[in-house]
Symmetry: C2
Subunit: 319 residues, 2 copies
């Protein structure tokens, strides 16, 4: 049961209410679902920007200055900093307090989110938090992730515009290439561009784009920034705006949204079906099958078939 | 239908047959499942070691020298190098050829694997490849991943022993802490330990362990290596052996295997259930529901309930 006054406060963008709403969706369960239900219809306007890059690329600093630049342009901005795998501790990042201090008085909302350990749990919680922030009237939602791994790609897929960050001189390889995240980039940024090797990094990214990219209407530009001095940040904000316009004029925004909804729906439906199937099994059956596989009495695919045959939905179909 | 001669060749550890078998499980589908079925009972003895670390930590070099050290001790060693997210290109890593040259004549089997873009697809393909290598009689399977994100954690969960790699001076933060992967480490390694700052990195890791670790029988040791000279690699191999002994003597190996089988079974069963539910829907129904969410006519949770109510298994239960 969701309190109407609380929902109204979130819709008005009341920061403490928004923070509490995110805590509730982070916890998951029926309450999270009810809250998303109550807020969902109020959203749909926010532009979601994913910013992804390896540790050491200066991602947090850049996101902070970008948020300030966008705020100065009149946008209301929120940041979600995703800590990909404190699946085990669920703790907030060190340095969060410093970031909040840096943003205090700007009106930028910032929140870090960590996984609860379930696979796909973090992406679902981030999706729900985006619904909250969207309903709360924020214009631009910056989602910051450490770029690598499929979980990250899943989160990046929720963004309308994905910015991939690189820094010069962090070892011999371009990390974004190594981590395979270049393919999801709409905008590439070489941060710490005052360092040695920045131009080489730009050139390597440009070359990689030429080699691998499919010809498209939108060719990801490669920008240079120095987050600490703010150099290049206005150009980055302009480019994000240009990409937004591109998406809206070409029906690409709808395509992206449909792909995102499709993924999310698949995840929800299959979890519910699994839960139902497990509830239908005889007590101890699931565990017995797991043990049979562990002891190599049956293989994993035969085990899955055995469970499917047992679950009542399937039996009714088979008989 | 699986050719018995082919299966026999894989079981005998014939390298070309093993390579072809991995290609087949990588492709997925019925053929992959049949092959795993045919090979599954022959495995169960290999010790699986996950080695995870950010780009630039010297992971590939360390894995190569570790493989050579273990081979010199009489073990048969295979390496799977996981490229977490070429989900879009599926290409092999640059530098693969050089690695293979480095290992040629050692008897070490090496293979890189990339995702096919489905969520969880890479973890499933790696699991199947491990079944192949295990059946082929390899004693130690080294699985190398770029450490960050939930996909990585999922792959790391398949290992009996997880080694997390760090390097000094790669920016201000300890990458493993930032990426939240310290919690999955059984052994910590500071590679490139001849560089400035190595001792500071060791101290930071030790402190983090003291602060965050739950008291356990096994406290992850922090080792120093220089992969390029081989320094510290024998100690790493010894420590992996000690961890293996620890797991076997304390019933922890069985626990880890059960957790792994449980995860894998959940994934297989829920995909099959979703496929069945989608097949049961009226044509166009899934897409119509996706569009209704995209247009904000209904929220995602109501959409999932609508699909569940439509799928025949659920209807029979509700009526």
């Amino acid at each position: 049961v969701i309190d109407g006054e609380f929902v109204a406060a979130v819709r008005q963008g009341d920061a403490p209410a928004v923070a509490r709403a995110i805590t509730r969706v982070e916890r998951g369960g029926q309450d999270a679902r009810d809250l998303v239900r109550a807020l969902f219809a109020s959203g749909g306007r926010a532009h979601i920007v994913g910013v992804t890059g390896a540790p050491g690329t200066g991602k947090s600093t850049l996101v902070n200055v970008l948020a300030k630049d966008l705020t100065a342009r009149g946008y209301r901005v929120a940041i979600i900093a995703v800590d990909p795998s404190s699946p085990f501790t669920g703790g907030a990042l060190l340095g969060d307090r410093l970031r909040m201090q840096d943003l205090s008085g700007t009106g930028v909302f910032i929140r870090s989110m960590a996984s609860r350990g379930e696979l796909g749990g973090l992406a679902a919680a981030v999706a729900d938090a985006l619904v909250v922030l969207d309903a709360a009237g924020f214009d631009i939602l910056l989602v910051e992730t450490v770029g690598a791994g499929q979980g990250e790609v899943e989160i990046a897929r929720q963004a309308h515009t994905t910015v991939v960050l690189e820094a010069p001189g962090m070892g011999d390889e371009i990390q974004a290439i190594k981590a395979g995240i270049l393919e999801i980039a709409d905008v590439l940024v070489v941060n710490k561009a005052d360092r040695d090797g920045a131009n080489a990094t730009v050139a390597a990214l440009e070359m990689n784009l030429s080699l691998n990219s499919v010809p498209q209407d939108w060719r990801p530009p490669v920008l240079k920034t120095v987050a600490l001095t703010g150099e290049g940040v206005a150009e980055l904000a302009d480019t994000i705006g240009a990409h937004r316009t591109y998406l809206e004029r070409n029906g690409r925004r709808e395509e992206k949204e449909a792909a995102r909804v499709n993924e999310q729906l698949r995840g929800l439906v299959q979890s519910a079906l699994l839960e139902q199937a497990q509830a239908d099994l005889a007590p101890g059956r699931w565990k017995a099958v797991v043990n049979a596989v562990r002891e190599r009495k049956i293989d994993i695919y035969s085990a899955a078939e055995a469970i499917l045959a047992d679950s009542s939905g399937f039996q009714e179909r088979v008989v």
